[in-house]
Symmetry: C2
Subunit: 226 residues, 2 copies
Amino acid sequence: MNSDSPNAVVLVSGGLDSATVFAYAQSKGYRCYALSMDYGQRHVSELKFARRMCAKLGAVEHKIIKIDLSELGGSSLTDHDQSIPTGDTEGIPSTYVPARNTIMLSVALGWAEVLDSRDIFIGANAIDYSGYPDCRPEYIETFETLANRATKAGVEGATFKIHAPLIDMKKADIIHLGCKLGIDYSQTISCYQATFSGAACGICDSCRIRKQGFLEAGVNDPTVYL
Amino acid sequence: MNSDSPNAVVLVSGGLDSATVFAYAQSKGYRCYALSMDYGQRHVSELKFARRMCAKLGAVEHKIIKIDLSELGGSSLTDHDQSIPTGDTEGIPSTYVPARNTIMLSVALGWAEVLDSRDIFIGANAIDYSGYPDCRPEYIETFETLANRATKAGVEGATFKIHAPLIDMKKADIIHLGCKLGIDYSQTISCYQATFSGAACGICDSCRIRKQGFLEAGVNDPTVYL
């Protein structure tokens, strides 16, 4: 990678998927700028993991942008009075945060335009996931169209690309990819109710999907569970 | 208007257009929830006007969500080291804030979903405006498509509508509409470099478009200029 490499903005949460995407984007030759959101999530400790991972993987810069989505309500992920579902739920679970990925991609788009970058990476996954609408291919495609209509760069002829390289992968395959790219998954956290020290509950949706992924991948699960 | 009236989220900046849109949405029978963004704009005094206007017009609630877009840079509207253009400029001016309307509409979408509202109003205008890409009809249409793909409500069959009733109107016609709806435009501010007390420079793009609008409308311009 050198200064001629194209810039990319990579959304980084501190979790398994986004760490993998970050390493993947780097392996494709991008100079990666990492973006995280401090949005009032109850598992704010994920940002500590994000910071550490970005430093370790060599992000050109890592910005944590603050916007308090708990002011809008509507999600057990930002509302501490609701409990996080730990069993099977019907339909889209209460951990869905209204418009969260749209807000995050929008901020990423703004930064990408400023950086003269045309490439935004997101760790969205539509296979082993919780059924969130803003993780599906048709959503990503529509955001890409929007990006090109929303921006000065787009109007002037640039083409933004929203990369979601994990979108069709099973969690086990994501873990295999990350292992190949050298990711140390003990330095990532996926739990919706992670403690400040970074221990995972093991029973929320996100923990269960992650746990099952390591099991199916035949890779030792390095997560610290409560 | 009663409790059976549909809820709407209205983006409110403190300026002439959004005040008109707010009154317009009310006139159509919506219970209006106002949303403003404290995004690091240099004319932050517009939020004082927004607050006052929302109280006067009877917003059910007015939220001001904070996200510091000056951290991303790339705009003379958030970067105090750049000057605001005051003459004719070629192309899209430096006051364009990368992805700003997309970020604001995304937050509005999140709130709309929580409020069980399907209607979002924005004062975008593509006639007497500064050429911003995220004020054009094709942009608004694409965001509407996105809204329906991004959300739990959309997936479950709801249809969001992004209303931009001013999009094809000349500024003079917007002023006529607002006057008919009883807007007191002395209580709005459009200037990009408005002072804290709310005086307008009279020479930035936004001031010039507004001034010309009052002139063409044949309506007394109540703006306090420096």
